[in-house]
Symmetry: C2
């Protein structure tokens, strides 16, 4: 393991998640090279001590480890394989870590291509949102070789608290898909249960309280159940993101011959909510689709 203070990290994607993650890496003493489509966040991070660069390729040419944190699979593909992409100027024995939520099939393909270029690839998607990114306590689910994971670990430990090496390439993305499936379905569970309480004339806040500590208890009932009781659907995580992640899980399942009936139903409910104007609300707003009071 290299000394943290001499290791050079590239970071591509300076959005709501990427920016605070970069700040935590700078704080931990890493030398940081950043790139982003828009100039404003680059300038902000330059002020915080990072070196701003124009393209993913330029970042890869300077860094030992390149972290990618962009919106979706298409954006990862462009950052890695595009005209000015990482792969064209990757240094020997570099490590690439994709921390976004990316298709499992494409992740396995990216890992192979990076490996053919002499690099290591780790998929390490996260859960915990912008709050987790800021406080450095993200949950991180990693896939890749032992060697890749061991090299990534000291960096991931700056960004997260619960870090699991789930399996080989793509396993982190599979765990993230599982995470999003459970989050969406547990939101639906809390929503139907609390809508029933309200419809029956019983205070949903008291019901939520009564269930805490029992078998119905969950992080979703605790956090998102409270949003339903309070009618406060500020973010959190967008309905559109929740819908996209569940749809991606269903698509993966379909390629494997697996039926996901509850996830499919929930995806359809999110479609209705988005059509009804709920796109930018927190995913707990599913409650508004069910509530009849």
């Amino acid at each position: 393991m290299q000394n943290q203070h001499t290791q050079k990290i590239g970071f591509i994607g300076l959005g709501l998640m990427g920016k605070p993650m970069c700040r935590n890496l700078i704080q931990a003493g890493f030398e940081l090279f950043v790139a982003n489509r828009s100039a404003q966040p680059r300038a902000e991070l330059a002020e915080a001590g990072a070196t701003p660069l124009e393209t993913p390729g330029q970042v890869a040419a300077r860094a030992d480890t390149v972290i990618v944190m962009v919106a979706d699979t298409a954006a990862v593909e462009s950052v890695l394989l595009g005209e000015n992409g990482v792969i064209h100027s990757l240094k020997d024995n570099s490590l690439v870590i994709d921390m976004g939520t990316t298709s499992v099939t494409q992740t396995r393909r990216f890992a192979e291509l990076i490996s053919e270029k002499g690099g290591l690839y780790v998929d390490a998607p996260v859960s915990g949102g912008t709050i987790g990114a800021e406080s450095g306590n993200l949950t991180i689910m990693a896939g890749g070789s032992e060697e890749g994971f061991d090299r990534a670990l000291p960096i991931l430990q700056v960004l997260g608290e619960r870090i699991t090496h789930v399996g080989t390439s793509g396993a982190g993305q599979v765990a993230k898909a599982a995470n999003q499936v459970i989050v969406g379905l547990n939101i639906g569970a809390a929503a139907e249960a609390l809508a029933l309480a309200k419809a029956a004339g019983v205070d949903p806040g008291r019901v939520r309280q009564a269930l805490q500590g029992g078998f119905a208890d969950s992080r979703i009932l605790e956090v998102h159940g409270k949003r339903m009781v309070d009618g406060d659907y500020s973010l959190g995580a967008r309905c559109t993101t929740q819908r996209k992640d569940m749809h991606q899980a269903i698509e993966l399942a379909a390629t494997l011959g697996l039926d996901m009936p509850a996830t499919s139903l929930s995806r359809d409910l999110y479609d209705r909510l988005i059509e009804d104007g709920g796109a930018d609300l927190d995913h707990s707003a599913l409650f508004t689709l069910l509530d009849i009071t």
Copy 2:
């Protein structure tokens, strides 16, 4: 509040839940009068210090508080209103506590009838199963008047640990319905997520571990997720009970004009599992319906 050692409690229904609950009440120093359809548990509890009686009516004639813990709404109706039922020999100012899982509408009717006879009625269904009944740490969700709840509380505290006065008559049963809806749907969530992991060639045990502490975490993922990973579907709680409770919640919702799409889908999946021979398995066996590996 009466001195616990002189208060007379009647207990009707000495099944898997009732028997250990009775033992805890005897241990706490209450004088106990018991009745049950079959003789064997009556004899067992007589040995432990209870007074065995023949009918619910005989119990009501001797006790200040009558606890009912029987299989379903029809059984509660028979115990309370049947030929030798509680209502016909209820002493003035007696307290009746129904701790089973009973229809909300019928609970409100029973409460009214008992009240007309000068009694108090509290619905106080529980969560936590036979293990919770034995260790006296059931979760208890209570509905009824302040006066009824205050009188019931010292007794409930012997049987449970998290005791919430949710609202007026029926509110405990509404909370229990909400509990069962969430339990069933969270089982379905864990099942689809772990089936996806397995189908994608990733160790579901590692995925479950990776998700713990994050937003996907729940008591169900912890307890029932482990059963899915281990393929161990010993009880726990039966698929048939889970199915019945969700169906009862859907029926209640229908009378209120509320649609419960996810709960309805889950009830249908449990129907298929029961048809496939899963009736007596633990409700976590829903996983076997989805798993394709």
